[in-house]
């Protein structure tokens, strides 16, 4: 290749002058175009974590159950019985904005491959989605496309989408977030890693053919949007879930035999990343012959072949002599398959095409020696303006009924039934707790165990205080698991932020990492996998900092699984935890006063831990009938959800709250942390209160389940004013169909 | 020869996609758009130079696989 590498070409590849100089230093010469392309994708933010790596190192990643921490395709955590769970969460934000259906679908495809590449059969998917408000046609189009894309892929794969969360805020209009979480189950001694060990072992390509899809997807994901973005459409990959289903079954069959040394999927940066990363992990090199790579289109150049992001492709290193068996299995599943190279001891990734060397780069320098930046960070000037809120200027709630209905109808709080009914959430017949409770729960066949999963992040809290916001996210995720009867065993993260080259964004990132670190260390929850998505900004406007967390918990005895909805009229309603005046950053302030301001709710990690331990204890000893944490919309919304979210029937409730000098709106709708609503048979009342007292957790009976209405008295025992009095049928309708109604606008 | 094949739902069979599209066109102001029918378009290269033979083959393909004649009808041209 005689092409001269110009300044323009370097800039087009999103490489800085210094980065280019480093490449020349590594190679001892100027790179050719193929090599430039390979460096540009591997050294992109998306693949190299160049802005985040120095900070990510601070996170706790080890623990007695951790089998594999960050750095592989997914994290692995021991659940006993010789089994482990394999899980990870990943973003597909930019592609989902450009082409919502395919962007979301291939996001699901990618995270599934990350999990089954490790030798695990995927058994659950969750998604965390962020969209702009539903009053514009463009946003509705994105919502419908993303949901259909997730459904189209996950359903066809036969992996249930068992939960997730969807939040609406106009800040995400031009940067929607699609974060997909997948969990698989594997035998502890049958975990496969992405390593090219054993000089002389064959390197085998299998799956779909390579086309010109998504060339430079990895650099696109590391680039901010502008008005030209919609023209980038051709780089979006198209997913083929049927092909992936075959790939899944073929992989598991390959792994069942004694055939493989290592295996990795071709995600971002395709053949380049899979080959150099596998070689680098083993300290080896790979000779890759492109002549044999199955192709979909004629005339593809080495540059295109190395950078293509065609989906549903894998690279495996087989044991020498096992090639034929590997090929036979791939062919059984109608997959394209070819031996494309071999492992060498040179440490060099050498790429050949038709007998000619077209690229020759030390594997380690591509995979691990990318630039590292300690980007400057400082709090933005507007931070004080965000947190300083004069509550006295805000009148207390006058019509609490209207306020509650408005909250229940706000898309962020409204039932997500319209979304999850499009997902097959029951296939594989493990789903014990379906979408719509605090956490999703799947049983583990062949054991008495179950696994609970939740995805959480309140990005408004993170905007107002990224350190507190991240701590609150960890606390809420763990609380959701506790309410399901599960003990947290591991965490994966998906850190969505704006442009890290801006000190204010970098500050948000650094603070969020500190917050996650402190909370995870306190709760002893290891972070075993994750992903960073920067540059979520359009025309200079960044998303709220959104460090999304996917937390996994273990339920040792599946019959001790708990759900959030009331079960029986006559049951006591007991509130664990104390209500403070925490209106800052609440959904109530946004919906009623159009303010996204104030300080996020107060969080004391000891108190939080005590409340969680208490509810877990109550669930395990069979004392409670339901448990639901108070989060968005506060006590009143949590209570309403307990009344109406059950699968078969709704219940009324009559409750009395006694205010001190507190504002009434903060009692009803404030988002004080470390609070859980439980219901229980009156006969258990004393045992529950005693237990709580023993554990230092404030607890009190606030009312009883029953009737056809949700009634809340605010005042002492003599007060007869029903601050809230709404028929359950009304709240169930408003909450249940809000999303559907908003989405059906033309 | 290349066969250009159109498969559509038979007249009289409810076409929910067509209805949805018709509705959307209407709300976009295309008040005179009616009877939207959604179908599939397929191209098949047939290694055959004799038009009559190709025609017979394509007809078989449609009957056997490409269309479900309980609900769908098909038409094609050979070029």
């Amino acid at each position: 290749m005689s092409l001269v590498i110009t300044k323009e070409l370097i800039a087009q590849h999103n490489l800085t002058d210094d980065e280019f100089k480093k490449i020349v230093e590594i190679l001892g010469r100027e790179p050719n175009l193929t090599e430039l392309g390979m460096f540009s994708v591997m050294w992109s933010e998306h693949c190299s974590y160049k802005s985040s790596r120095v900070h990510l190192k601070k996170l706790p990643t080890t623990g007695p159950r951790v089998i594999q921490g960050p750095g592989e395709n997914a994290g692995v955590v021991d659940i006993g019985d010789g089994l482990c769970v394999v899980f990870k969460m990943e973003s597909h934000n930019h592609p989902s904005f450009i082409e919502p259906y395919q962007g979301a679908a291939t996001g699901v495809g990618g995270i599934l491959r990350d999990v089954f590449t490790m030798g695990a059969r995927p058994i659950a998917l969750l998604d965390s989605l962020r969209f702009g408000g539903l009053d514009t046609a463009k946003n509705r189009h994105i919502v419908k496309g993303v949901v259909a894309g997730i459904a189209g892929y996950g359903n066809c794969m036969g992996v249930p989408t068992v939960g997730g969360e969807v939040v609406f805020n106009d800040i995400y209009s031009l940067n929607p977030l699609v974060n997909a979480f997948c969990l698989g189950i594997a035998q502890k001694d049958k975990i496969f890693l992405g390593t090219a060990a054993g000089v002389g072992n064959p390197v085998i390509y299998f799956g779909s053919k390579t086309g010109r899809d998504g060339i430079h997807g990895a650099t696109m994901a590391s680039d901010s949007f502008d008005d030209q973005s919609e023209k980038k459409r051709p780089t979006v990959q198209v997913g083929d879930p049927f092909q992936e289903k075959l790939l899944l079954e073929a992989c598991l069959e390959l792994m069942a035999g004694d055939l493989l040394v290592g295996i990795q999927d071709m995600g971002a940066a395709g053949l380049t990343s899979s080959s150099c990363e596998m070689a680098s992990r083993a300290g080896n090199g790979i000779d890759l012959d492109l002549t044999h790579v199955p192709r979909r289109e004629p005339g593809m150049t080495p540059y295109e072949l190395m950078l293509s992001e065609s989906q549903e492709r894998m690279l495996m290193v087989a044991k020498a002599g096992k090639e034929e068996e590997c090929i036979r299995i791939c062919k059984k599943w109608d997959l394209d398959v070819a031996v494309v190279g071999k492992v060498t001891g040179s440490g060099i990734l050498r790429v050949l095409d038709q007998g000619k060397v077209v690229a020759e780069i030390p594997a380690k320098s591509l995979a691990d020696d990318g630039p590292r930046y300690e980007r400057p960070f400082s709090p933005p000037g507007y931070q004080d303006m965000l947190t300083n809120l004069n509550y006295d200027a805000l009148p207390d709630v006058k019509d609490a009924n209207a306020a509650l209905l408005a909250l229940l109808e706000s898309p962020t709080i409204a039932s997500k039934r319209w979304v999850y009914e499009q997902y097959d959430h029951m296939v594989r017949t493990n789903t014990m707790v379906r979408p719509g409770s605090d956490a999703a729960v799947v049983r583990i066949k062949g054991t008495n165990k179950a696994v609970a999963m939740t995805v959480d992040c309140n990005s408004r809290y993170c905007l107002l205080n990224p350190y507190e916001g991240a701590r609150l996210a960890v606390a809420e995720a763990a609380r959701n698991l506790a309410c399901s009867g599960a003990e947290p065993i591991g965490l994966t993260d998906c850190l969505n932020f704006g442009n890290p080259e801006r000190p204010d964004i970098m500050w948000q990132f650094v603070m969020a990492i500190e917050g996650m670190k402190d909370a995870c260390e306190h709760f002893k929850i290891p972070i075993v996998s994750g992903n960073v998505s920067f540059y979520n900004e359009t025309n200079g406007l960044s998303i709220y900092p959104t460090p999304m967390l996917g937390m996994v918990g273990l339920i040792e005895s599946a019959d001790k699984t708990m759900t959030q909805w009331f079960r029986e009229d006559g049951d006591d309603i007991i509130l664990l935890g104390a209500t403070r005046e925490d209106l800052g950053g609440s959904e109530y302030l946004k919906v009623q006063h159009s303010r996204e301001q104030g300080s996020p709710p107060y969080l004391n990690l000891e108190t939080e831990q005590a409340v969680q331990s208490c509810v877990l204890q109550l669930i395990r000893s069979g004392l409670v009938q339901s448990a639901h944490d108070c989060s968005d919309g506060g006590f009143a919304v949590a209570l309403a959800e307990c009344c109406m979210s059950g699968p078969d029937q709704t219940h009324g409730a009559v409750v009395r709250l006694t205010p001190g000098r507190q504002r009434i709106d903060s009692m009803l709708f404030g988002e004080s942390q470390s609070r859980i609503l439980v219901s229980a048979k009156p006969a258990q009342r004393q045992a529950i209160l005693d237990q709580a007292q023993q554990m230092g957790v404030p607890a009190g009976v606030v009312g009883a389940v029953g009737g056809a209405s949700l009634v809340i008295y605010v005042g002492d025992e003599r007060s007869t004013t029903k601050t809230i009095d709404l028929p359950v049928a009304t709240i169930a309708d408003r909450w249940g169909f809000s999303l559907e109604r908003r989405l059906s606008q033309e | 020869m290349k066969a250009k094949i159109h498969v559509t739902l038979k007249q009289g069979i409810l076409d929910p996609q067509g209805k949805a599209i018709e509705h959307a066109l209407d709300s976009l102001g295309f008040k005179n758009a009616a009877n939207v029918r959604v179908g599939k378009y397929m191209e098949v290269d047939v290694q055959e130079t004799d038009k009559a033979k190709a025609d017979a083959q394509v007809k078989q393909m449609c009957e056997k696989l490409l269309a479900n004649t309980i609900i769908e009808e098909y038409r094609y041209e050979l070029v």
């Binding site: 359903n155 066809c156 036969g158 499009q422 296939v427 | 996609q17 479900n68 609900i71």
Partner: protein
């Protein structure tokens, strides 16, 4: 009993069907790859749900040409019991083992939720453990479950009591509101005139255990065992 679960490329409820017969009902199960040509030793055949061949072209359209389908047809012709669930039902329709065809759901969406079905004919090999008129809660999960057939065929099916399951309210009323997908005559499940081939859109294998909170689907399988004179 020896149950054969057919595995097409893209089947994804095959493991669930095996689990129910093997682990819940204690029967022996054989997974049969679609390229097999014989069903020797098999007492009943299950065509499981999923997305055979990605549902490309039409649901079930390509799977019906798999080699094993010739054996399934012969097996059914000899009176062998065949159950097609969801995608399995769609394949049975495309293969002509049952009359009719599937259209896209009226909502155009994939839909996954519990529905109620009324047992319209409790005198079949697949429903004899149910009461006539009994209401079962069973989940559906499909995008193409909108059953269609011509009026003549429909009348014949009605006359022969071939409509076995119909979508209904929890109280057992067959109403348009209870119909999740626009299916003709609220049809959720039908049998062939001989009564040995059942196709149904709801997934009974998803609700056959206490731990999943619902055992209604087990009645379909218990009926089959009863008809085959198998003690559980």
């Amino acid at each position: 009993m020896n149950v054969g679960v057919i595995v097409f490329p893209g089947s994804n409820c095959d493991h669930d069907c095996r689990h129910v017969f093997q682990d819940v009902l204690g029967q022996s199960v054989q997974m049969i790859w679609h390229k097999e040509t014989s069903l020797t030793g098999i007492d009943a055949v299950i065509l499981p749900g999923g997305f055979s061949y990605g549902d490309y072209l039409r649901t079930g359209a390509i799977a019906r040409f798999s080699p094993v389908m010739r054996a399934v047809k012969a097996f059914a012709k000899d009176g062998g019991a065949v159950i097609g669930i969801c995608n399995g039902f769609q394949i049975l329709l495309e293969a002509g083992l049952l009359p009719g065809a599937m259209l896209r759901n009226k909502s155009l969406h994939f839909i996954c939720k519990d529905v109620y079905v009324k047992v319209e004919n409790a005198a079949t090999a697949f429903t004899e453990a149910c009461e006539s008129g009994q209401v079962l809660k069973i989940p559906v999960a499909h995008a193409d479950g909108n059953y269609y057939t011509d009026p003549v065929t429909l009348a014949a099916m009605q006359a022969n009591a071939q409509i076995v399951l119909r979508y209904c309210t929890p109280e057992g009323k067959v109403t348009p509101e209870a119909n999740p997908n626009g299916s003709l005559d609220n049809i959720a499940g039908i049998i062939n005139p001989e009564g040995n081939v059942l196709g149904m859109m709801p997934h009974p294998e998803r609700c056959a255990e206490d731990i999943l909170g619902n055992k209604d689907g087990k009645l379909i399988f218990l009926s089959l065992l009863k008809a085959m004179k198998v003690k559980v």
